[in-house]
Symmetry: C2
Subunit: 209 residues, 2 copies
């Protein structure tokens, strides 16, 4: 149903999904583009255009089915199925991701954590024991792994992408402050925390919200 | 020198800043728009246009002074001065931010961590002891606080913004999965980690990098 979805709309899809899940929890069955727009601080026409572009269907005078639209967006995002994650790097960020229960609740389940630091290997993080990163290749051969979380210093990130991709991992959630060169067929989303803080500093300096 | 800087360029400024710092470390003194473009995977003309828009100055045939451009971008971002942070929420994310040394290295110094959980109050995170969030107001009156890191559940985030803003905090680095309503004069950058994972899922499903 959906044709080309623009990058801007793709980035808004998770917010649609989040608001629709909240609406479902609140027991709302139908919602108009006006109401959804107020909630998401978008115009009603922007909402209609967005939803149309990813193939969501509303009914004149009734608006959108909250559950129907939530399911459609979930399928579009691919979050209706479970993703298996491994974390490389048991430092502060790796630990925070491993210990968060919100990712698992959203179908992103962390199965294993790896590190190359002998002082970290063997340590428990929640119910997982940190494993030697040299065992990651064998682990990936024996278990389904969709996404590798790269919570490592800059130096190691690029080599890891290449090695893990060669083992069959296609998705990379990268926390290292580096622009990865992705092999053909690999996908990545970068979380450059430092850069967010710098943008915040810019906005404060220039009195922008 | 700089006029209007577009949102897209503002978001690229930290990447320019990072690459220029790396180039300085490598001992590079001058760089052409071609070379910088290759490094940042942008076209030379995009680089020239970006740099022009934020008032950076190059010399025909010489390119840009790496140190000069890095300093100019640092001033533009406001990261040439120190920012004082407090963290609200001593959970996994709050701990990770508190323990990271990369923020402090970039002039974003965390001075205090607060929580409302009696089990967390008093616990040490690095060299900081978690304080009762009810003491945050007094802390802000007595110390410079530029940015509050919101590492709290959805429910508490909006109220915190209003209370902290009333105490004089203008910047919010928000990790709670909620769209904040900002008081006039407040600035925020949201880090919606779940949403990044969902976009990664979409890209994997649709074979996009």
């Amino acid at each position: 149903m959906a044709g080309y979805i623009s990058e801007a709309v793709i980035k808004r899809l998770p917010a649609y999904y989040r608001h629709l899940k909240e609406l479902e929890k609140e027991g709302v069955l139908q919602i108009s583009s006006q109401e959804l727009g107020q909630r998401m601080r978008l115009t009603a026409s922007q909402i209609r255009q967005d939803i149309n572009s990813f193939g969501g269907i509303g009914r004149q005078g009734y608006g959108y089915s909250v559950a129907g639209l939530r399911e459609h967006i979930g399928r579009t995002l691919g979050v209706d199925r479970q993703h298996h994650l491994i974390i490389i790097g048991a430092g502060n960020i790796g630990r925070a991701v491993a210990l968060s229960d919100s990712f698992a609740k959203n179908n992103f389940v962390t199965d294993a954590v790896f590190d190359d630091d002998p002082q970290k290997i063997g340590v428990c993080i929640g119910e997982m024991q940190v494993q030697d990163v040299r065992l990651a290749k064998r682990y990936i051969q024996e278990h389904p792994v969709d996404i590798a979380v790269l919570a490592v210093p800059v130096d190691g990130a690029q080599r890891l992408v290449e090695e893990l991709f060669a083992c069959g991992v296609r998705g990379f959630w990268n926390f290292a402050p580096v622009d990865l060169k992705l092999p053909d067929g690999a996908c990545a989303v970068n979380v450059h925390l430092d850069e967010g803080l710098e943008v915040l500093s810019y906005r404060m300096l220039n009195h922008q919200p």
